[in-house]
Symmetry: C2
């Protein structure tokens, strides 16, 4: 056996507690944050990475670009409202949009398991092309690898994306200010419950469909309206709660959310109750939050509601300087509790 390269330093994670990778390390919760903060960020340290956002902002000769990547390991590959292909396009397109960039070009890496039916691959490829057209991006470069049967799970995808930032704003968690309004683009929890209902074989009167959709149009509409957007974040792994916690921590501010203001569809709520899940933690693939100065909030809501994927947009809370890093949920009866992250993810392999 080849001997591995020498250590230059001890592993900075508390290996005694977690000697091996757990599913929760990919779940968007505290363990994943620990992996990022203690292992990846110290090793790769650079200013772009420290922006702690959905993508990196780069500048070349005055041209501002956003660059991002995600891998997709969702199972099953096909689910109500989408498949791994639509997810791989919209997920990366949305990360670019959250930087305030217009997504332009995507790369795509396929890791295929030996034995995958060629027709399955063809369906996924067609979904990707339809989703790319809908989002206005081109798939310009790619790669395919095949692994032995039993060493993969049908099909894993990676997309990286490149977008152009065409406005002077910096849209990032650190731009959030006390007094900002928090807007939400629509009801939460549908993507995760669409996946879970397939996995668990739950039958409802009508299928819960994933909310998977490109968010380019609403973001561009906000920017074209000249609104002073401070931060955007899509509500993927870990759902609304993880997104808000990440932003509260990076901005060192407190976010107060009104529980009753967050829309959850009745069938989603019902499915969550059956499975013992909290919709505030469930992944979405076509929902985002907007942080914007209070005086501009009404106009932003109007702009959002004019967009097909944001008709249910609403105001859910506000930013305060009461603490640095807490998310507080104000209940129907006025009680307040901390809306904390989970250590892992309620639902593994949701994207």
């Amino acid at each position: 056996m080849a001997s591995p390269p020498e250590f230059t330093a001890n592993c900075p994670l508390p290996i005694a507690n977690y000697p091996n990778v757990l599913l929760a390390h990919g779940g968007g919760g505290r363990l994943m944050q620990q992996l990022l903060d203690k292992l990846f960020l110290p090793a790769f340290r650079n200013p772009a990475l420290e922006q702690a956002h959905d993508g990196a902002r780069l500048e070349i000769n005055g041209l501002r670009l956003a660059f991002t990547t995600d891998s997709y390991v969702v199972r099953p590959l096909f689910f109500p409202g989408g498949d791994i292909g639509t997810l791989a396009i919209n997920g990366t397109v949305n990360d670019l949009a959250m930087c305030g960039a217009r997504p332009r070009w995507l790369s795509t890496g396929f890791i295929l398991e030996e034995g995958l039916p060629m027709e399955t691959l063809w369906r996924v490829v067609q979904s990707m092309q339809r989703a790319a057209q809908a989002a206005g991006v081109e798939l310009v470069t790619g790669d395919t690898k095949v692994v032995d049967k039993g060493k993969g799970d049908g099909l894993f995808l990676n997309t990286a994306g490149l977008g152009v930032i065409g406005h002077p704003l910096t849209i990032a968690p650190r731009q959030v200010r006390a007094g900002d309004a928090v807007l939400l683009s629509g009801d939460v929890g549908r993507h995760g419950m669409a996946i879970m209902s397939v996995r668990e074989g739950l039958a409802f009167e009508s299928a819960i469909e994933s909310d998977c959709a490109p968010l380019v149009a609403p973001v561009m509409a906000l920017l074209d309206a000249g609104l002073e957007v401070h931060c955007l974040r899509d509500l993927t792994r870990g759902g609304l709660t993880s997104a808000l916690n990440e932003i509260a921590e990076t901005a060192r501010l407190q976010i107060n959310i009104e529980e009753t203001a967050v829309p959850v569809r009745e069938d989603v709520q019902g499915a969550c109750e059956i499975l013992g899940l909290d919709p505030f933690y469930v992944a979405n693939e076509g929902r985002f939050v907007v942080f914007i100065p209070e005086p501009e909030a009404d106009r932003a809501l109007e702009v959002l509601r004019g967009q097909a994927v944001c008709q249910g947009a609403c105001r859910i809370g506000r930013v305060t300087a009461e603490s640095a890093g807490l998310v507080i949920l104000e209940s129907r009866i006025g009680a307040r509790r901390i809306l904390d992250r989970l250590s892992g993810e309620q639902l593994p392999r949701i994207c």
Copy 2:
């Protein structure tokens, strides 16, 4: 079960022959070319993709960029001369260099298998950082997914890369002209044999080390010298033979190679003979070919030999208009034979 989306057209591949994905579909040979030509390219059709090169060339407001991606599924994760981390940096850096771009930024996607020792991940991350520093690139954005135990193979990586093209040349297979000299940057076959010697437990007097290295410096040296480079290609999956065949087909020209001019180290030749492999088809991770007008060939060789990773650079052949798409090997005794692609890859999961 969710029903998969409807077909918009039949799968364009001959499914009767190959209903399922084979390891060979990822091997850099004919089956992989068929997958690209019949499935991916028709679905995603656009001008950047049709450049048929290691990366896409993009232009924004006069700024020329190269954009590329590769996934890495090599096993074992550690091998003499490198590991999956060095490979993931150098592979993508080299694809950018082959477009004549200076690599600047990389994204990185980790797909971890539950149970992977955290220390293994830490070693790989350190290798990546060292390789990134050596190649002059920054890892600016990333993603981590975890799949259930038994649904992956320890660790898969994806990197996408972005580079800046700072000269007016178009460096691509279609720029190759009859009369061009073909230069090779050094001996071939080492990466593949380094992997195979570990897998097969072959013991040699000294270990064969992978040639894995960044090729930025020699490419920039060629361009800085003002040489009219027509095409560059690194010799990864499918080795020297696949690279030459792809270029001959895209350029619609013939490439004649002198067998004795191609350097193969004695221990690599010996290992190939034991395993029944042909070093001309074995993958390299730090070797490339240069197509350049004959009058500039000597100066280009001089520039290459001044670079640490190209000291063994040599002239191995020439381009002719005798046929469109053939690679001809001229043997020691003057015999000529077609150097054809394999249908798959001699060595699966080599990168």
